[in-house]
Symmetry: C2
DNA sequence: CTCGCTTTCTTCCATCTCGGAACTAAAAAA
DNA sequence: TTTTTTAGTTCCGAGATGGAAGAAAGCGAG
């Protein structure tokens, strides 16, 4: 029983907002939804009826009832059927494709990686299609595919420019759709990650929200009014190369002197330590040594901590977000240099300003793939009508 | 014939959006309004009818018709009657009260200043009331008063804390209303200025917009989704004291070393030059000498230019506004150090990033008073239902 | 066990707003 | 004068909303 890619459409705007509220914020009674969306109880009966009929929402038993305290008729929570549909998400790096299967609630239920040996678009699409077959075996109700790629993506379908893959104008979504028969969306990987966190993660329900990722590069995502601000021009990793955090900072092969990229990314931190010590260190080694007080790594890590604090403070000062999510493979930095970061933030902010809502999330490539899967969820829920 | 303070209410949301569209963007035909608000022509007839009946809008002769090129039935622009109501705006500084009268379109039609010799709340209210009488003499249709004060203002009515006036919890709006019989709103001066620019100035119709003011202090205002983001905590001038733009920058009595306040405000620039030369310079003198190449002022001005460029670049990088308005008494800096500013901005941004939409506006205290008057306009148009 | 209380949810209806089709109005072009 | 073009109006049906009244479902007191 393969479900078609029809999505939830057609839904009226009111119905859609109810569906999204439940999807994003978990099971909720009609009264609760009415309160959150500022609607009358009557409207809620009307709006939920078709959603229940189409089995998009179901009534679920009341969760951990605060029995005894409660009075009156018990509420009847509504919930989405999280595993009524599955979604595939892929993150393509230069030498690996990471894939996950998620539920409608964006919980990862399976994951799978395959090395990428060629950058030929058709071969990549074939690989994604093969992984799709594997991942959707024994899992009939797959509703869509999301793919995250570093680089510029146009119209959620075409990779406009991706230096690390050497692509220009590759209609990846189409290639994958042809080979899988499933609807596919392609998006910049950071953008996908930000969408995922906005819908299902740290940015849930927030009006102003920032995502900062540290890893091989520096990523930045801005969410205003609950919607991600699309990048314009300078895309993705490119940003941080020009954020000068310390004009007297280290000079590295990548990024300008003292830039966020030079100071914060894993390759450049490793470069700095290697240049000073003459031998190769892993990122974890550097952090561990710094924690133990070895001078050279400690200096580099402390400098990175100060840079990160400066960066976070600047963002907090100018954007005034309700929360800043710090994610990526490089956030281990916070374990070692957390105090430096905190101090630097405090040092660069008005003492009476609201404390920065900083949240740390260790994330790996599967989280990026999960982000891509969220795009597929959004398409299903909202229809193709996305920005 | 004193018009009551009833405002335009009650207006339906649709009617209000039409009224605001015309108020803010100038005379417009029904078709044009329909296009901008994405409404049907039929709706426009319906929505404009009551507005025309209440004389809130009027039909005006078609402006500079591109005769000859035009075909079909000529359009019939609608406009507000700009001088159907007048609004008073006051800006209170520690030694002066600046007042203006504006039209509904926020054009200044009269201005008036009076020295402030005491900081006693009642005396200040009396002075504002006296100025109100003078300004509204021969001008019967005054609809409201807006007052801008440096410091923290609560509920658009009470000055929560204003260090320079030595106030704490002064219900200024009430005091003025009692003495004038006119509705009064009080707001932080920078906030008022930002509102004015958002409705009637550089931020008109923009989604993401930033105002940066340089003068006695540094002011910052953020507009997202067409609405000003309210300050939380660290208010107003206080901000910039902690924005460190150059850790090795000058140390001044006010603001941290190398902070925006130290580097950019007029008093601190004058302090730097005085400290180095041993004599007092006016701000204009400093700029002129710098322009002529005199080394010491030139160094201070160049440093200020770099700081401003850094600041603008940071804002552009993180907030990605469609426009940044640079205003205040200190923007003369741009005439002398404009190139340095531009260079520094370019230096701190991704080369492919969209160029910064930087707009310069020389403004004096009357522009701040005008900003306060806009608050009164907003209250009239939107009703008390403001944030 | 029943009655009353409380809270949730449903039913029903008056109201409001909108879009769309058909129509009128006004000017230029043929 | 007729046709074309654009602006604006009239009219009506579709859809969404809130509010009032009522039904439902549990709890506890008597």
């Amino acid at each position: 029983m393969t479900t078609s890619a029809e999505g939830w459409l057609p839904l009226s705007p009111g119905e859609r907002s109810v569906a999204i509220e439940v999807l994003v914020h978990g099971p909720m009674s009609r009264t609760e939804i009415a309160r959150r969306l500022a609607l009358s109880p009557g409207s809620l009966t009307r709006l939920t009826k078709p959603l229940l009929e189409s089995r998009l929402l179901v009534e679920v038993p009341e969760a951990g009832a605060p029995a005894g305290v409660r009075q009156g008729r018990p509420s009847q929570p509504l919930d989405v059927v999280a595993d009524s549909r599955y979604f595939l998400g892929f993150k393509i790096t230069s030498d690996m494709v990471y894939g996950v299967v998620t539920t409608l609630r964006s919980e990862i239920v399976a994951r799978h990686n395959r090395p990428l040996t060629t950058h030929d678009p058709v071969d990549v699409a074939e690989l994604v299609a093969a992984m799709t077959r594997e991942l959707s075996r024994d899992r009939p109700r797959v509703a869509g595919i999301g793919i995250g790629v570093g680089g510029l993506v146009e119209g959620r379908a075409v990779v406009g420019e991706s230096p690390f893959l050497g692509w220009r104008g590759v209609p990846l979504a189409g290639l994958v759709e042809e080979r899988t028969g499933l609807p596919a969306v392609v998006e910049n990987d950071t953008a996908a990650f930000v969408e995922a966190e906005t819908w299902f993660g740290a940015g849930r329900g927030l009006d102003r929200f920032v995502v900062l990722t540290i890893g091989a590069g520096v990523g930045y995502g801005l969410v205003l009014g609950g919607k991600r601000v699309p990048y314009s021009g300078g895309e993705d990793r490119g940003f941080g190369r020009h954020w000068i955090l310390d004009p007297h900072g280290p000079l590295t092969p990548d990024g300008r002197r003292g830039s966020a990229v030079s100071l914060l990314t894993i390759p450049n931190i490793r470069y700095q330590v290697r240049a000073a010590t003459g031998r190769d260190w892993s990122y974890e080694e550097i952090l561990a040594s710094a924690a133990e007080g070895e001078p050279m790594p400690a200096r580099v890590v402390e400098e990175a901590g100060r840079a990160l604090g400066t960066l976070v403070a600047q963002i907090a000062n100018f954007v005034m977000p309700q929360r800043i999510l710090l994610a990526g493979e490089g956030v281990g930095l916070m374990d070692v240099a957390g105090d430096v970061v905190e101090d630097t933030i405090r040092d660069n902010r008005h003492p009476q300003a609201e404390p920065v809502g900083l949240e740390i999330k260790v994330s790996d490539f599967h989280d990026w793939a999960r982000g891509a899967a969220v795009l597929a969820i959004q398409v299903l829920v909202l229809g193709a009508a996305l920005v």
